[in-house]
């Protein structure tokens, strides 16, 4: 049982690389072997292993070896509910404050000028 949530910056670092994002996106559809993950990537197998190591250290994925095949899967707990909600909350407020800007641009009249207020 994974009891800790990796810090967001670790997760962001792990996802800052396009190859690692491609790996995570592939794994979000289901587990895959290292060779399956490597196939679409324009890099050597050792380079793929290094990316997988970064992802594993961030807690985003885990892997296990069965015989000669290492299978990787998303560690759902890593990007758990809390992290998801933090990201969504921030995005929500970003949208709100953008909308506020649009609202202000569309309503130049209100409120009434300062001089008229009690």
């Amino acid at each position: 049982m994974v009891n800790y949530s990796p810090a967001l910056d670790q997760v962001f670092h792990a996802l800052a690389d396009p190859a690692r994002r491609a790996i995570v996106e592939r794994l979000s559809r289901g587990p895959a072997s290292v060779s399956q993950l490597a196939e679409p990537l324009p890099m050597s197998l050792p380079a793929v292993f290094r990316h997988l190591q970064v992802l594993e250290e961030s807690g985003l994925i885990r892997s296990e070896k069965a015989g000669r095949v290492r299978t990787c899967r998303i560690e759902a707990a890593a990007l758990g509910a809390a992290e998801r909600w933090i990201n969504e909350r921030r995005a929500c407020w970003e949208r709100r404050l953008d909308r506020l800007g649009e609202y202000l641009a569309q309503h130049p009249e209100d409120p009434e000028p300062k001089g008229k207020r009690p």
Partner: protein, 152 residues
């Protein structure tokens, strides 16, 4: 709940609006104005919105994504300095699960004829949703959002 956990997070968002602090503040303090910009998803249905803008007053907002659980926002205002500052606390529920409890501060500063708005949220984000929602789907969407964010 199995293995309850808490994650603390703070984020700050800044905007500069070409409007006086009086106008920007009014868009926060008047219910009909605030309802115009407070939604964060175009396709979510608004079930209820109410604002009692005074110290000790409450604000509630209930919205529902298509086919999804009701998201409920319940806020209470703790400090109001007209045209300068608003401090409020709120919790969020998705269905029956409380997902966060937050302290939020909006500071309005005049900047020439414009207004700099600094929004700070300090929250305890809870894991209640993990039992309530389709976790794998949520994780996928969350990752796509993260990737989109990083790609900007």
């Amino acid at each position: 709940m199995k293995n309850p956990s808490t994650t603390h997070a703070t984020f700050v968002i800044e905007r500069v609006y070409e409007a006086t602090p009086a106008r920007v503040f009014a868009a926060w303090s008047k219910a009909e104005a605030k309802a115009r910009w407070f939604a964060c998803h175009d396709d979510w249905k608004s079930l209820e919105y109410a604002l009692d803008f005074r110290i000790g007053g409450r604000e509630t907002n209930r919205v529902q994504p298509p086919g999804g659980l009701v998201h409920a926002y319940d806020a209470r205002y703790y400090d109001i300095v007209p045209e300068r500052r608003i401090v409020f606390a709120y919790d969020m529920h998705v269905g029956d699960a409380r997902i966060s409890v937050s302290l939020a501060t909006a500071v309005f500063e005049p900047q020439g004829g414009a207004t700099r708005l600094t929004f700070t949220e300090q929250g305890a984000f809870l894991d209640g949703l993990s039992n309530a929602a389709d976790r794998e789907e949520g994780t996928r969407v969350g990752l796509e959002n993260l990737a989109a964010e990083l790609g900007r």
